[in-house]
Assembly symmetry: C2
Homo-oligomer: 130 residues x 2
């Protein structure tokens, strides 16, 4: 049996929780600290690295210079607000046929893709009009 690992366990718990599916290491660290009282950034980093190595979560690049992760069970896209930076999950995969088209036009064997839409979220849009 493995030793108990509160930090690593808490990270897993966070990923398993509802309500949020996208985490930066920073945010995970903050949440773990809040839950356990204390935890080192590097410990959280290592927990995340392990989960990524095991394929349980995957790296998502939002283009903000930070690394984000989400559980890798299902594939989906994201849309980020240009104004507030909020990221929302886009239901469904809109790229099934596109992948095929890309494969035939480039000769590549398409294995995956990452798509990030940018836009203005409803809140920022209404705030903008005020």
């Amino acid at each position: 049996m493995a030793r108990p690992s509160p930090v690593s366990d808490q990270v897993k718990t966070l990923f398993a929780a509802e309500g949020r599916h996208l985490w930066s290491i920073d945010e995970l660290h903050e949440s773990v600290v809040q839950a356990l009282g204390a935890a080192d950034y590097s410990t959280v980093f290592r927990a995340v690295s392990g989960l990524e190595r095991d394929g349980l979560i995957k790296r998502i690049d939002l283009g903000d210079g930070k690394v984000h992760y989400e559980v890798s069970d299902e594939h989906h896209e994201h849309i980020r607000c240009d104004v507030c930076g909020r990221v929302v999950e886009v239901p469904g995969c809109v790229l099934e046929d596109a992948s095929f088209a890309v494969a035939s036009s480039t000769g590549f064997k398409v294995t995956s893709h990452q798509l990030l839409f940018s836009g203005i979220c409803p809140d920022c849009e209404s705030a903008r009009q005020a």
Copy 2:
């Protein structure tokens, strides 16, 4: 008139040149050094920053931790080889209708998107079979 600025000019030349459309600051720096004999990384960085500020080039995130730029005249996607990392431009925009669908499903006003396919390029694919 502004003073002559060989470094900045050379950066512009590189972006205007055919044959390559995607550059990291590092690669630009290397090419500028090769062309002019010497140039500082920060100078290249500032040249690039200026071009980006003026909207002549735009930042492209390939998920490799480095910042890449390309001329912003036309919108297109990229596909990167999982094995060698080579990035090839995907002709045409495959996402016109998808943007509309995303807008209606998320409530966001979609302003742009960034898509990166991953796959295996023909060279790596044939090398893999050997």
